[in-house]
């Protein structure tokens, strides 16, 4: 009966998808409702923002590594933010740090990563012609675009962009008297984020609904590729945490512009008491981190899903512990909502409450370790193909482990008194979530590039890009651990006036050089990416000999993905090197009845039932 229902649904809502009439340039490439085009829009916008975000970090690393350097040569770019002495303006330094964080966390690793791969992979891997609502999907991209435009314009304000840190804690962010960036820059930051959240929710609701309702026949949840599982849980996390940021941001808007005091109390500026009384800045931190902590899993989960897929494919082995992988993602997703106060250990939080949050935080080590071990055991004795995507996936596992280990230190509420807000924290999250998620994104681009553009990226340039980036990331972030343990606070403009830090000047210069080199190594990728779109080697239908459904589409799938009927699914996505099989992979569309030589004992019955119909 329900089969009939869904059939009616399809007739009702999907009539438009099947006819392949010629579209105008605008409806094909600009206001497209095709999930593949929208994915590419997200990807290219994400790359644009990654360049800006990365560029900003190189500029402030110059200040940190070479505090005496004369930066007049940056004047054409930064204008009045280079002072008369040739230094970066100290308030603009804070704006750089703030915008680097905001851009990287939200625009690159949330929209650029989830937006790209959820849009691209969900319909292709579950066997759907498009997202549930192509129109909402299009809106999702354009809200993101508008949000980006607003954020970009804020760079050109007289008072500069927001500069209260990417977490925009009040009272610093609430009072324009406190810092220049809390004027118009902060207003634009908030407006931009409102658009961004709308984009995320439109996308997320679509992803979840599509996965629940539009899987092809046979694609049960226990046959879903882990990428889809990861993107599904990511969307749920976003759906439940971003609305809390809406509340936090709206309250902040009222404090800033309409005279309320939700976050403000007892503030004196220049000896003058402000009229605000009765609010609490800690309240903002609670609301913010209720989003902020799930947000880091929104960033890392899609990367982990992509890695699962790539490592299994390129080890030519089934993913080790498929159900454990799902379980660990579920556990991570659940725990992510009840650990937010570990960002607030030193805000005067009740130490007993601190120990509870510490306990919950440390539990996350368990599912994370499950994932790490499963990656390693999948690789173990595999027939490893070192494609560029595979290299980046292994790089992700490396970062996830080395960055994750320091998470155990930071999750400890006593150690955090020493380590909070130092470069130790910076090193930790840049490895475990920043670089790891970034590597997941790059791995995904290299792996699915043939499906996106019908051509291959150059593997040699890919390898060079990988090794430079991999080594570069460790050269940047490993020394930061030492600098952090030594007590360097993050976000400080200058350390030259502190004697205790003099001995670290060389190390800071070293980090800055490594950061600049790593940044410039990304241009190898950019060249490879754009060159290959137009002139890459033409891809075969299934270049990586992969099992999932997207490789059953034509080289350049049109709107609707499969020219004929949607393929049915008969097995999970990880039948690699199955004993007895003639190839080392069996796509999900091959019925069990066609592979009697490799069926497992429990699959024999299923094969019989299949053959009967």
């Amino acid at each position: 009966m329900s089969v009939a229902d869904i059939q009616i649904e399809k007739d009702l809502h999907h009539d438009g998808h099947d006819d392949h009439h010629e579209q105008s340039f605008i409806s094909k490439y600009i206001f497209s409702t095709d999930h593949k085009t929208i994915a590419k829009q997200f990807l290219i916008t994400g790359i644009f923002w990654a360049l800006i975000g990365g560029g900003l970090s190189v500029i402030f690393r110059l200040q940190l590594g070479f505090p005496d350097m004369e930066l007049y040569w940056l004047k054409p770019l930064l204008g009045k933010w280079i002072t008369a002495e040739g230094k970066i303006d100290s308030e603009f330094y804070l704006a750089l740090v703030t915008m680097h964080g905001t851009i990287m966390v939200f625009f690159v690793l949330t929209a650029g990563l989830s937006g790209t791969f959820a849009n691209f992979l969900i319909p292709l891997q579950i066997g759907a012609r498009d997202m549930a609502s192509g129109f909402m999907n299009m809106l999702s991209y354009w809200f993101f675009f508008v949000s980006g435009v607003i954020m970009f314009i804020s760079f050109f304000l007289e008072t500069g962009p927001a500069s209260g840190g990417w977490t925009v804690y009040p009272p610093l962010s609430a009072l324009p008297q406190a810092i220049q960036g809390s004027g118009a820059g902060m207003t634009m930051w908030l407006v931009s984020m409102v658009f961004f959240i709308a984009s995320t929710l439109l996308g997320g609701i679509n992803y979840i609904t599509t996965i629940i309702n539009m899987r092809t026949e046979g694609m049960s949840f226990t046959r879903l590729p882990l990428t889809v599982w990861a993107l599904f849980l990511t969307a749920i996390l976003g759906l439940l945490s971003f609305p809390v940021l809406v509340a936090a941001a709206l309250l902040l808007v009222f404090d800033r512009s309409f005279g309320t005091s939700f976050y403000l109390s007892d503030i004196y500026i220049g000896g003058e008491a402000l009229p605000h009384i009765g609010g609490s800045p800690i309240l903002y931190q609670h609301l913010f981190w209720f989003l902020g902590h799930p947000e880091v899993y929104i960033v890392i989960l899609p990367a982990l899903g992509i890695t699962s897929e790539i490592i299994s494919t390129n080890s030519r082995k089934p993913i080790f512990g498929y159900r454990a992988m799902i379980g660990s993602m579920l556990a991570i997703g659940f725990l992510s909502f009840i650990v937010w106060a570990h960002h607030m250990f030193v805000t005067g939080l009740n130490p007993f409450l601190g120990s509870i949050f510490m306990f919950l935080t440390l539990i996350i080590a368990v599912p994370s370790a499950v994932k790490a071990f499963n990656y390693i055991t999948t690789l173990w004795r595999g027939n490893i193909k070192f494609t560029t995507a595979m290299l980046f996936s292994i790089g992700l596992v490396s970062f996830f482990i080395s960055g994750g280990l320091t998470g155990i230190f930071l999750g400890n509420s006593a150690l955090d008194i020493n380590l909070h807000d130092t470069y130790f924290v910076v090193a930790h999250f840049h490895l475990v979530m920043g670089s790891a998620a970034f590597f997941g994104m790059l791995a995904g681009v290299y792996h699915w590039f043939p499906k996106m553009f019908g051509r291959m990226m150059d593997e040699r340039l890919g390898s060079i890009h990988f090794w430079l980036t991999f080594v570069g990331v460790y050269l940047v972030f490993f020394p930061l651990h030492y600098i952090g343990i030594a007590g360097f606070p993050r976000r400080y403009y200058s350390f030259t006036s502190f004697d205790a830090f003099q001995t670290f000047t060389d190390l800071n210069s070293f980090v800055s050089i490594a950061a600049a080199l790593t940044f410039f190594a990304q241009f190898i990728f950019l060249f490879n990416f754009f060159y290959s779109i137009f002139a890459g080697r033409k891809a075969s239908l299934n270049p990586w000999k992969s099992n999932t459904l997207e490789w059953t589409t034509p080289r350049l799938p049109g709107h609707g993905n499969w020219p004929g009927a949607i393929p049915k699914v008969f097995r999970w996505a990880y039948d690699y090197s199955k004993p007895g099989a003639k190839d080392d992979f069996i796509p999900q569309t091959v019925p069990l009845s066609e592979t009697p030589e490799s069926n497992l004992p429990n699959e024999v019955e299923e094969a019989k039932a299949e053959a009967k119909k």
Binding site: S2, E9, S133, M136, L201, I208, T210, S220, L251, G278
Partner: protein, 245 residues
Amino acid sequence: MAHSTAIESNNIWGGGVAPMKASYGKLMMWFFLLSDAFTFSALLITYGLIRYSHPAFEGTIDEFAFSQEYWPIPEMVFEGFPFLHGIHLPLVFVGLMTFILILSSVTMVLAVEAGQRMDRKGVEKWMLWTILGGLTFLGCQAWEWTHFIVGADTANNAAGNTFMGANLSMNQYGPPNFAALFFFITGFHGFHVFTGVVLNFIIFYQAVVGKLERTGHYEMVEKVGLYWHFVDLVWVFVFTFFYLI
């Protein structure tokens, strides 16, 4: 479709079917409401946190006077009623508002039910009542806000309390955040009601011109119905937090 295997057809999560027997549009509405529920929860938690960081009034209700020193007793604040100036009617007006809103939920149920019977006239009638209920609620809220903003001349003000009425940064009834939170949260809810009325009107219009009948089902009524019930449910919580506790 019909030839799925015995194993698969038993498993509604096996793919090829909508496992929750709901269209994607309805699922989307549910997920949106789930996310909106988190927004309101955040706001109500904010209310609770700020409320309990202020001292409560200690003493009997007869001695109560408005003061900046403690959080006011809501039934002493919201005691007005249109045309009944000076009479102490605690929470009567807001009770009436709540009743009207809940009644509009009932008429919405009837509209959905009429839609399932493909009864166009019934849908039109009950949607219209729902819209009227929503507009009445908004009208009542406008009066309630005006009364709150202008201030109560008959109220019992503590010494030193010279400001009358309320705005976002100060008020006569108590600490500034009392009024700020009132405006913010009931305003946010009122905005949801307003959006709901607009959505209801669009669907009402589509029913009247026969657009929904032509599509062969009245599912859009069910979708806006979900939203409308959610808005009512949220009001119950807002009401409890602001007026009763």
